[in-house]
């Protein structure tokens, strides 16, 4: 599964995108956030306030209870500040 990070999530994880093989215990977007947060200090910092993080699956907004089955691309980013 391709995972993408934007803005300060990209900076804190040190990664703009990566392809990950997820363990079977990671079933939802929320599980994925917890699993990523446990990877290293940078990821822990990036995901330390999960409530402020927005999630997109296959480029559409989803919540933390979204089931990842069939997902090609997950993205994590802060609240958007366009316009």
């Amino acid at each position: 599964m391709k995972v993408r990070y934007f803005a300060w999530l990209r900076e804190r994880t040190g990664t703009s995108q990566e392809t990950l093989d997820l363990p079977e215990t990671v079933k939802t977007t929320g599980d994925l956030m917890n699993w990523l947060a446990a990877r290293d200090e940078g990821y822990a910092f990036a995901f330390e306030q999960p409530d402020t993080i927005r999630i997109a699956v296959n480029q559409e907004h989803v919540d933390t209870d979204f089931v990842l089955t069939g997902t090609e691309e997950v993205a994590f980013f802060p609240p958007m500040t366009g316009g």
Partner: protein, 166 residues
Amino acid sequence: MKHMAAMTNTIEYTVRVQEEDFNVSKETELLTQDRKDIGAIVTFTGLCRDEGGTLEALELEHYPGMAEAQISRFAQQAVERWPLTGLTVIHRFGKIPPGENIVLVIATSPHRRAAFEAADFLMDFLKTQAPFWKKEHLKNASEGSWVEAKTIDDKDAERWNKNAPA
């Protein structure tokens, strides 16, 4: 990226996400040329402010693909909700110095209220729902800082759920 709306009653609209600048009068001309059924043109141009001379530049990061898809989703909602004759939305990314353009919305319609509301609606959703992030580079700071989302922008976007347009 040019979209043809699926429903026969709604119009074609233009959505572009690009690094280069845009020209408001050229984009307006594309929506108005050779037609005489337009009564109202509303343009909204968003620019980079210098914040009292402290700002060196804004850096706009975006999520390619999703940015176009999200803007198109709201453009589609706008053409279904208001009787528009034309709609163009352009959002830039990359490093933008003060005084330069960031975003453009042009809505044309036979009626002024439709043109105003559609442009206003799109700007509210671009602010809160389109995957762009602004980083401020100040003149006297070595590192940039991410602009925080504003509650007022969410409230502006919520207006369109409560109030049906005229």
